[in-house]
């Protein structure tokens, strides 16, 4: 491999790709053609078979049947090593860079042949020369852990190009980026495909990205190819129909009229708390959430939203300031949460809101197992009551579980979230604090969960919603704040919200 030679894009085609795991067919006769120098989008819900298809192409799986053709030649890809030798590379959704190494170290060590003793002067010169030809500008002498998400994503792509790969699979490349960063990264990649240096297959959920950047699109549903064609010939509605078929999607409750003079349920004043590194702190000067409104907090991950949520949830001590719920100081004790009807849906619910090895029934009863119908503490816990209570909620919230006594960790992500919603949204809710509720969930689960949150709002709950998904915030919120570098830097009512301005504040350009 020589990083200085000019690369030439390759085209890849799969023919009749089928992959079975036992009795389960993950891919059923899928043929997709990605010509050299094109930008191809692969759409589909979670579990539709996108990653199975890609893993077959990259040599992680051996397809049950089907062929791969690269530049009109049939090839056998038995291992990831074969794939990289043919110039196929993949950029994963989660970063594969080593956090404690610098960018330069990451690039050099990922090469096939690394000399026993590395001559950094020579390597640096070669890297500088290579980077000159790259549209991406990156600091290579900084530890990867200190780079912003957008820079990491660029470095992942640069790494693949440095390794001489000219066919890249991008797995939801923009899920951790700001709209501005996403535009920039995809725009640069697009330019490289136009120049014939690169072929791209992008896995995505976001229709607007597909429309803006891709040439062609293929859609998978339940392991089958349900549609393919030029992006210019398809609109979002057609793509959505191919993706989700005819299953019903929970409709969002129409938004009840906001009452500008409704009671302020949550009031945060001059809050200060250390962030996770302990070196910086987060500061929330003044935030109020009224009954019957959803206040969204946008921001790139790592800008203090997580810490803010942890303070509100009582998981993180605060240095100064006060949190008031209905005029009462709130320190997130169980008694206070119960008295003030505060409910919490943290991100990664399995980790943050469940005891993974305890049963579904027990997890659903965490808020209520130790009180009787009148709110009095009980001295003897009744498993019967727990079962009937959770059976009702499982039914009501459509949690798909093998049984009430399965460990909650055995449920799929969407069903864990449904179980947590069932627990948190049952009974009176005055304040609901939510963080990234739909991260990693499929289309129908997302629609349903958003509908539940909207319903809680319309019923008069004050909702504080933190999300890294701007589309979600724009869909649900009445007001949006932007959190950047530990502080709320921008506020806009939803009617005047612009993605452009919000994105700029997220990136800290103001």
């Amino acid at each position: 491999m020589s990083p200085t030679t000019r690369m030439k894009a390759v085209g890849v085609e799969t023919i009749g790709m089928t992959m079975r795991f036992g009795a389960f067919t993950a891919l059923d006769d899928v043929s997709v053609k990605v010509p050299a120098g094109s930008f191809h989008a692969l759409l589909g819900e979670n579990g539709a078979g996108k990653s199975t298809l890609v893993k077959c192409m990259m040599g992680f799986y051996h397809p049950t049947s089907g062929d791969i053709i690269i530049d009109d030649r049939e090839v056998t890809i038995a291992s990831p090593r074969d794939a990289s030798a043919l110039g196929l590379g993949m950029v994963y959704q989660h970063f594969t860079l080593v956090p404690s190494l610098t960018g330069a170290e990451n690039l050099v060590i990922s090469r096939e042949k690394v000399p026993g003793v590395i001559d950094w002067r020579k390597e640096r010169a070669a890297l500088a020369q290579f980077m000159e030809r790259m549209p991406f500008k990156l600091p290579l002498d900084v530890k990867v852990a200190e780079l912003a998400a957008g820079e990491k994503q660029k470095l992942e792509i640069v790494k693949q190009l440095y390794l001489g790969r000219s066919f890249l699979v991008l797995d939801e490349p923009t899920s951790v980026l700001t709209p501005g960063e996403a535009q920039e990264v995809l725009g640069l990649v697009r330019a490289m495909t136009r120049a014939g240096d690169l072929t791209v297959l992008m896995i995505s959920h976001k229709f607007h990205e597909v429309t803006a950047f891709a040439d062609d699109v293929s859609v998978l549903r339940k392991g089958r190819l349900t549609g393919t064609g030029r992006v210019t010939d398809l609109d979002h509605r057609q793509m959505a129909a191919m993706m989700i078929g005819d299953q019903p999607i929970a409709a969002l409750d129409s938004r009840a009229e906001p009452k500008p003079d409704a009671e302020i349920v949550l009031k945060v004043k001059a809050l200060k708390a250390p962030d996770r590194t302990g070196l910086k702190s987060i500061r929330v000067e003044d935030l109020g959430v009224r009954s019957g409104e959803i206040v969204g907090i946008a921001g790139i991950s790592g800008n203090g939203q997580k810490e803010f949520l942890e303070v509100l949830a009582g998981q993180r001590p605060r240095d100064a300031g006060e949190v008031m719920v209905r005029g009462t100081a709130y320190a997130a004790t169980r008694a206070e949460a119960r008295a003030l009807n505060v409910r919490l849906i943290p991100e990664e619910p399995l980790k943050n809101a469940c005891a993974p090895k305890m049963t579904v029934a027990e997890n659903i009863s965490f808020r209520t197992f130790d009180i009787d119908g009148n709110g009095k503490p009980v001295s003897w816990i009744s498993t019967g009551t727990i079962r009937t209570f959770s059976a009702r909620l499982v039914e009501q919230f459509k949690v798909k579980t093998a049984s009430l006594s399965s460990p909650i960790a055995s449920l799929s992500g969407g069903n864990v979230q449904r179980a947590v919603l069932a627990r948190e949204l049952t009974g009176e809710v005055d304040l609901l604090i939510v963080s990234n509720p739909c991260f990693g969930l499929d289309f129908s689960a997302v629609a349903e969960i958003r509908a539940r949150i909207m319903k809680a709002r319309n019923a008069g709950a004050a909702v504080l919603l933190m999300s890294e998904d701007l589309d979600e915030l724009l869909e649900l919120s009445d007001r949006i704040f932007v959190m950047s570098d530990g502080a709320l830097v921008y506020e806009t009512p939803i009617a005047q919200a612009s993605v452009q301005t919000i994105g700029e504040h997220m990136a800290g350009h103001h």
């Binding site: 594969t96 080593v98 050099v108 060590i109 302990g278």
Partner: protein, 308 residues
């Protein structure tokens, strides 16, 4: 020892000499542990490896008459212990800390079993370089009588510090220690790298043990180690997995260990036993001072089971 000739100057001098003498096993064990932990695994069994290394070095030196052969035997025994640890830990759901504790007891027990016949005979010592020969004060001479292993350890620390950044092996070790996923994506097998790292770590701990039995204190007894192998683990964390830091921390611990005997030698007769506890107290103080309830350790390898 008669220290009245130079009065209280004897205390810092004895601490310096003690630091050099006592620190050597710390240096080797902690460098070995640093290599192992940088690969993402903890080997608590180094205490057992140290004791077994001390025994095998002494036994081979007695039988062959060569301390260097003893040293090699100790390194080999340590290598075997390290490889054994690495091999067991590659199986799923095996906890490296539990295996380490088991190996610690196993190593010590095995050493006592095989070492019984070697308590009486005396073995030749590893040679020392009299760097204090320019002085005619016996205390200076005694303090600067530096063993070869100390110098090798110092050179090794510098080499490792350099190698972690500038060699392929060093970078691979850091990759594996920081992210198994990234390592697999590069086509590396984390288990193989960790096996090698644990093996090398064990060999270095064995050399540390050889120093104990062949130079200072210089005889084989069952109480030869006073927890150096365990303290070295704490020391690696204190040194933030940096080999140069390990060297400095080993000197500090060695100096603290020499405090008790030094005070005794200048005639302090009351309470010097308290100062024998200095290294242990230092371990505790350092661990408390450098830990924080809300923040994980900076520089800790991401795959280490205690930091996950």
């Amino acid at each position: 020892m008669d220290a009245t000739g130079i009065g209280l100057w004897g205390v810092p001098l004895a601490i310096l000499g003690g630091a050099i003498r006592v620190s050597t096993p710390f240096i080797f064990v902690s460098l070995g542990e640093a290599i192992t932990e940088r690969s993402g695994r903890i080997n608590l069994g180094l205490e057992g490896t140290l004791v077994f290394g001390a025994m095998s070095a002494y036994a081979v030196a007695v039988m062959t008459g060569s301390p260097w052969l003893g040293l090699i035997a100790a390194a080999f025994a340590g290598l075997c212990f390290g490889l054994f640890h690495g091999w067991i830990c590659k199986f799923p759901k095996v906890n490296d800390i539990a295996i380490g504790i088991a190996l610690m007891l196993f190593g010590s027990g095995l050493a006592f079993f095989f070492g019984k016949p070697f308590i009486q005979p005396s073995a030749p010592d590893l040679p020392a370089i009299p760097l204090g020969a320019w002085s005619d004060i016996p205390q200076v001479q005694a303090a600067l009588d530096v063993n070869m292993l100390f110098l090798i350890g110092a050179a090794l620390a510098v080499f490792l510090w350099w190698a972690f950044r500038n060699t392929r092996a060093g970078l691979i070790l850091r990759v594996v220690g920081d992210s198994s996923d990234a390592a697999r994506a590069m086509g590396l097998n984390p288990n193989t790298v960790r096996l090698a790292a644990t093996g090398v770590g064990g060999a270095l701990a064995g050399i540390g043990g050889a120093y104990l039995s062949l130079y200072y204190p210089g005889s084989w007894t069952e109480g030869i180690s006073s927890g150096q192998g365990l303290m070295a683990v704490a020391l690696v964390i204190f040194a933030r997995w940096n080999p140069l830091g390990c060297f400095a921390a080993a000197l500090l611990f060695g100096g603290a260990g020499a405090l008790g005997p030094a005070l005794q030698s200048v005639g302090v007769t009351q309470g010097y036993y308290l100062f024998y506890a200095a290294p242990y107290i230092l371990t505790l103080v350092i661990m408390i001072a450098t830990s924080s309830p809300s923040r994980s350790l900076a520089g800790a390898p991401g795959e280490l089971s205690i930091t996950k």
